[in-house]
Symmetry: C2
Subunit: 472 residues, 2 copies
Amino acid sequence: MRQKSFLYETVSGQLREQIRRGSYVPGEKLPSVRQLSRIFDVSINTILQCFRQLEAEGLIKTYARSGVFVVRPKTPAPLSTVTPLFPMLPVEVSLSERILNFMEPHIDQSIVPLGIALPAQELMPVNQVLQTYRDVTRAAPQEAWGYTHPHGYDRLNHQLARRSLNYPVPIAEQDIVVTNGCMEAMELALRAVTRPGNTVAIESPTYYGALIVLEVMGRRALQIPTIPGQGISLSALDQALRRGQVDACLFSTNAQNPLGFTMANRQKQELVQLLARHQVPMIENDIWGDTVFQGPALPAKAFDEEGMVIYCNSFSKSLMPGLRLGWTAPGRFHRRILELKQVSNITTATPPQMLMSRLLESGFYQRHLQKLRGSLRSQTARMVELIRAHFPSGTQVAEPTGGCALWITLPDHIDTEVVFHQALKQRIHIFPGAVFSPGRDHHNCLRINAGGPVTPELEETMARLGELTRRL
Amino acid sequence: MRQKSFLYETVSGQLREQIRRGSYVPGEKLPSVRQLSRIFDVSINTILQCFRQLEAEGLIKTYARSGVFVVRPKTPAPLSTVTPLFPMLPVEVSLSERILNFMEPHIDQSIVPLGIALPAQELMPVNQVLQTYRDVTRAAPQEAWGYTHPHGYDRLNHQLARRSLNYPVPIAEQDIVVTNGCMEAMELALRAVTRPGNTVAIESPTYYGALIVLEVMGRRALQIPTIPGQGISLSALDQALRRGQVDACLFSTNAQNPLGFTMANRQKQELVQLLARHQVPMIENDIWGDTVFQGPALPAKAFDEEGMVIYCNSFSKSLMPGLRLGWTAPGRFHRRILELKQVSNITTATPPQMLMSRLLESGFYQRHLQKLRGSLRSQTARMVELIRAHFPSGTQVAEPTGGCALWITLPDHIDTEVVFHQALKQRIHIFPGAVFSPGRDHHNCLRINAGGPVTPELEETMARLGELTRRL
C-alpha cells in the first residue's frame, strides 16, 4: 500500500513538472493510460490515480472517448519570472549580447525587416529548388541516407572547384572542404590559424557576426580603415603588419558588408602579396561575392599563389539560408581544417550537397544569380533614391556594388541607437552603426537591408524613417 | 598583337591547369566558346586560338556539333607523385592519423563492413523516411527555406524534451540545442567546459572518435577502468576525482561502444551524484541509448539535479547518418554552448529538423526503434554464436545490451593489428583493439560490427575470420 502511494506520487510529480516546463502545453493531449503505464512501468490503476489528482489540481481534464488534455492555467506565470533551472554561471557582459538584442526584433513577422541583410524570399525560386531537393532524394535514396566523405560530396566539390575556372590561381578540387554554411568555414579557419588572445585584422566597419565570433572565441580585433569606394587601406594594413600586430586577417573583398565596396583586382592581388610577404594568413569571407551586380567577381583567393588565403563562401545569402551549406578552400591550412571539421561534426549532411551539385551541374544556380543580381541592383538603387529624398540634409549613403546592405551616414549629432528604438516603436527594424565595430564607432551610421522589392508600403516606411531621423 | 598573344597564353594556361587539377576530367565537355569568352572576358577568336593550342598538345579534342572534350592523357601522372599544391606545414604524427588509416577500407564497397559500427541500411525505413522528407518540404516550403532559431526548430525541441517524460529530472524544452549530429554536441560541450591541456576522463576502452576529438583539441585523456557487465568503475573515478585529476568526463552509460554495457540506474545516479559533489561536469554520449534491446533506457542525465550533465545524442545510429541531426541538453552550460553553436554555424539546417519533428510526432520513429532493437538483438546474438564456434579457444566476447558493436578478446599472444591486415587481404574490415584507448592497450582485442543481417555469406566470412585468428 505504501509502495503504491509512493509510485503514484512520483509519477504525478513528473507529469506535473513536464506540464510546468511546457513539454505538454495547454490544449495538448497526454499519452493514453496504457502508453503511460508502459512508459513509467506502473499499473494502469496507478496512472488513473495520477489523472484524478492532476485533474483535481486543475492541470488536466478528461474528455470521454477523446482522452486527457492539458488545461490552460488560470494565472499563467510570465516566462520572465520563471526561476532558472540551474544555478547560473557568471559571464562577462559582452558586445555579442548587445548585438543579439538588436537582432531580436527580426523574429517578429509583423515588423518591417530592414535589419538583417538578406534578399527577400520572394526573389528566390523556392518551389523549384525544393522540387529539385525532392527529386535528388527520390533518384538516389541510398546515397542520400549515408555519410559523405568528411571533405564533402565529390560531385559538389567538383562543381565548386569549377567556379574558379577564370582565376589566375584556380582552386583545386582536393583543396575544398564542404561546411555548414560560411560561418562554419570562417570559424574553422579562425581556430586553425589563431589562438585565444591572438589579434585578427578586420575592416572598419565590418559584419557584426565576425565580431561575435572573435569575442566568443577570445580573439582580439584590430580595425583596418577602409577607403570609400576602394576598400581596405593597404597602407594602413602594411603598417600594422610591419609592427607585427596581426596574427591573421578576416576580410571581404566583394560587396563587403556593410559598406558594399568591391575591391579592384589589382588591389586584391596587392593585398594577397602583402600578406604573403609577412606570412600572415587571410580568411576571406566571400558570402556576398555571387551577388556583385556586374557579374562574378574574382575573390582575393584568385591571386593566392602561396596558399595563404582561406576562402569561405556559402549559398545562404544567394539562395537558401535554411540549407546551411557552405565551403572553404584553405590552401596550406587544408589538413588542419579538415581535421577540425571531422571532430566538429564528422561531415556535412548529404541531401543538401546532392541538391546543390545538381543545381550547379544544370546551370540553374547560375541563371538564378543573373536574375537575383538584377533585382538587387534595381532595389538598392531605388532605396538609395528614397534615402536621398527623405533623410536629413548632410546624410550620405554609399552606393553598393553588390548585395543588399545600405550603409547610411547621418549628421554627426544623431545617435542611431536612438533611431533604432524609435523605429522599433513604429515596427521598423534597422541596425545601428555601433554594432559594426568593436569600439562602438559609427554612432551616427545605420545599416538598412534592401533585400525586398520596393513596394508602395516600403516607400511609405522609408518616408517615415526619414522623417524620424529629420526630427532628431 | 602582343596583347592578344598574351591573353591567349593566359587563358590556355588556366584551362591547362584546370584540366591538370581535375576540375575537368577526361571525357568531360568544356564550356562552349561563347561561354568561355564571357567567363574570361576575351574575344571568341582568342578562345578558338586556345582550343587549337590545347588540341595540338593532345589535352582536348573538338567534335563537330558536339563540342570540345577533355582527352585522356597518354601517360597519366599517378596522384601520389603530384607535387603538393602549397608548401606543407609540419604536423605531429598522431593517433588520429592511425585511426583514419584503419577507417580507410570503409569506403570500399566491395569489402565486408565489420569495421564501422552502424546498423545496415537494409534495417532502415529508407523510402518511407525520404518520402516524409519530401512531404514536409512540400507542405511548408517557406518554413523549410529560412533559418530556425539558433537553439533549433521549436516543434523538434518540443518532441525531444518529451522523450524525458519518465526521467526523475526531466529535460526542459528550453535547455535543448539542436546540433549537426552527436559529434557536434560533444565537441561544443568539450569546448564549453575544458581548455587545451585539461584532462578528460573516458572509459577504457572507449569510442575512438572521442580520442580523435581529444587529440585534435589538445585535451589529455584519463582512462577509467570498466567492470565487465557493470560499466565505469565508480571507485576508480572517485579516486581520480579526489586527486583533482579530472576537469571533465566523457562517458556513455547505455550500450557503450565498444563494450556494449548498460549501467544500472542506481549506478547512473551514483555517478551523477559523485560528479556533482566534485563539481566536475560530465558529457554524456547517449548515441546508442535508443538501441538498448530491452527498450528505452534512462541516461545518467535523468538523475541530473544540478545541471552538471551535458547530454548528447543524435539520430545517426538509430536512423539516418546523412541527416547529421543531433541535440544536446547542456544544463548549467546552456548559455555557453548556445553561444558556441551560433558562432560555429549559426543554426542547424531546417529541413532535417522538420523531418524529425514529424517522425517523432507521428510515432513513426518510436515504432521503427522497436523493430530495430529486435533486429539488432537477434543479429548480435547470432554473431556471438558464430564467434564462439569459429574463434580460438580462450576467446571472450561480451554480450551487448544494445547497439551492434561486439568486443572480442582473443588469447593474449594475438596482435589484432596483424589480424586487421590479414583480414583486409581477404576483403574483410575490422577494427583492432589498440585504437580504443590512447595508450594502445587492448592489443589482443578487436571490435566487430554486427549491424548487418546474418546471411550465409556473412556466416562464411565469420568462419574465415575465425580460421585466420586460429592460425595466429
